[in-house]
Amino acid sequence: MRIEEHPILKFNKGKMIKFVFDGQEMEGYEGETIAAALHAAGVKVLGKSLFLHRPRGFYCAIGNCSSCLMTVNGVANVKTCVTDLEEGMIVEIQEGRGVIV
């Protein structure tokens, strides 16, 4: 799902890093968001709706709509469309509202 060639843009990708999504090891680039890395790896479903458990993906990708909330390194309700991917991150689909300590 990555753009290989573009007439105007050059993508200066950061270094390749590894992270874990729902127990599965994946790769992404430094400097991109968690949602972008997941999408590039073919993952579209980022969460489940609260009551009907319907699949949820991102919608706005700029941190305005909360459609992309996931649990990251144990922290619930992280907006993955505006949070940078980091080496070794544990990213999980969140069930329910999530608990804040």
Partner: protein, 360 residues
């Protein structure tokens, strides 16, 4: 408590120009943006701008923030920038609360504030509109142009305004197939230059068409559309099915300005300005003294107008707190003239009719 002369909330084109203008007049400015990068929506706009040279016409949107930030550097002793900092509250005693990164929460008491928070994308209701694969056109633009990731393989674009047309073109530049563009209106809303370019590339633009439903299990697989009559009712028997994995929703933006409502500014619903906007005077000052507004937050328009509004609001806010430059009147008149020029086309008529209703 942090003190500041002018706080600018939002570092998109409007906020950056406001900062530049106020700093040039001699005021201290503090820019707060919730994003990692300054530039707002510009950072994904790969197309060339219209307008005149003063609004950076024939530059690409993505190149403009750098020009503005370089310019801001000339006044660096007057400018402070906080990114990944969200203004979460604006209270009646004039205090602004900010959350920086995850856990740095503080208050600021400025002499004046300029709210330039932009706009957010509208949504459309139809069965299964929550399926992954249905994305805002702006989201797709961000994914492609900022991160170099394709949204999918086959796209149906809903909305033939400028954003819908431009994003369709950018999808094709990224090597993604655009099956069709549809719009419920009987006429294409965007500029003809953009529409002709799309048509030449063989993409049909279906006016008087709307989405009937989305189909899919875990994510979007198909979209059913149908024709509508002049009252926007669906016409039975005109259904068409598209096999697509992405549907982009581009049915307009609506101003993002809850902070102003929270602060107690008088707000009004103005359809021509795409939503609820603050009542303001010609200096872009709201009904609350020393609270200014600029850009899409004051009515959805274009980046060029947002920039000029920013320059004007920055100039007037600085003057209001004691930094009135000798050429104040000349600068103010120049900005007003630029705005009038930008609003002289057919779309401008609409905007002007809206602005008439929020003057004070």
């Amino acid at each position: 408590m942090k003190q500041a002369e002018i706080v600018i909330i939002g570092g998109g084109p409007a906020g950056l120009c406001a900062a530049l203008s106020a700093a040039k007049s001699g005021s201290n400015v503090l820019i707060i943006d919730k994003n990692k990068n300054l530039g707002g929506q510009l950072i994904k706009q790969t197309h060339m701008f219209f307008g005149s040279e003063k609004q950076y016409a024939s530059k690409r949107g993505i190149d403009i923030p750098e020009i503005l930030i370089d310019e801001l550097f000339k006044y660096k002793e007057n400018v402070e920038i906080k990114t990944e900092a969200t203004a979460v509250g604006m209270y009646e005693d004039g205090i602004i609360t900010v959350l920086e990164k995850e856990d740095n929460y503080y208050k600021i008491e400025p002499k004046a504030v300029i709210v330039a928070t932009g706009a957010y994308e509208k949504f459309l209701s139809f069965p299964n509109n929550d399926l992954p694969g249905i994305y805002g056109a702006g989201a797709v633009q961000t994914l492609m142009n900022v991160y170099g990731v394709k949204p999918g393989n086959k796209v149906l674009m809903v909305g033939a305004g400028n954003i819908g047309l431009i994003v369709s073109y950018q999808l094709m530049q990224a090597g993604v197939e655009v099956k069709a563009i549809l719009d419920a209106a009987p006429k294409i809303g965007g500029y003809l230059v953009h529409a002709s370019k799309i048509r030449r590339m063989g993409v049909p633009i279906l006016t008087s068409h709307t989405v009937k439903e989305a189909i899919g299990n875990e994510f979007l697989e198909k979209v059913v559309i149908s024709e509508v009559d002049e009252k926007f009712n669906r016409i039975k028997g005109t259904e068409m099915i598209f096999d697509v994995d992405v549907m982009c929703i581009s049915v307009g933006l609506t101003p993002l300005n809850e902070l102003l409502a929270l602060r107690g500014c008088e707000m009004k619903y103005i359809p021509q300005l795409s939503g609820i906007v603050p009542v303001r005077n010609e200096n872009y000052e709201t009904t609350v003294e020393n609270v200014f507004v600029a850009g899409d937050a004051t009515g959805v328009e274009e980046a060029s107008a947002a920039m000029v509004e920013g320059f004007l609001a920055g100039l007037c806010a600085a003057a209001k707190i004691g930094y009135k430059p000798d050429d104040f009147i000349d600068r103010k008149n120049d900005y007003i003239k630029q705005l009038n020029n930008l609003r002289s086309g057919p779309a401008g008529k609409h905007i002007l009719a809206g602005i008439e209703q929020i003057g004070r």
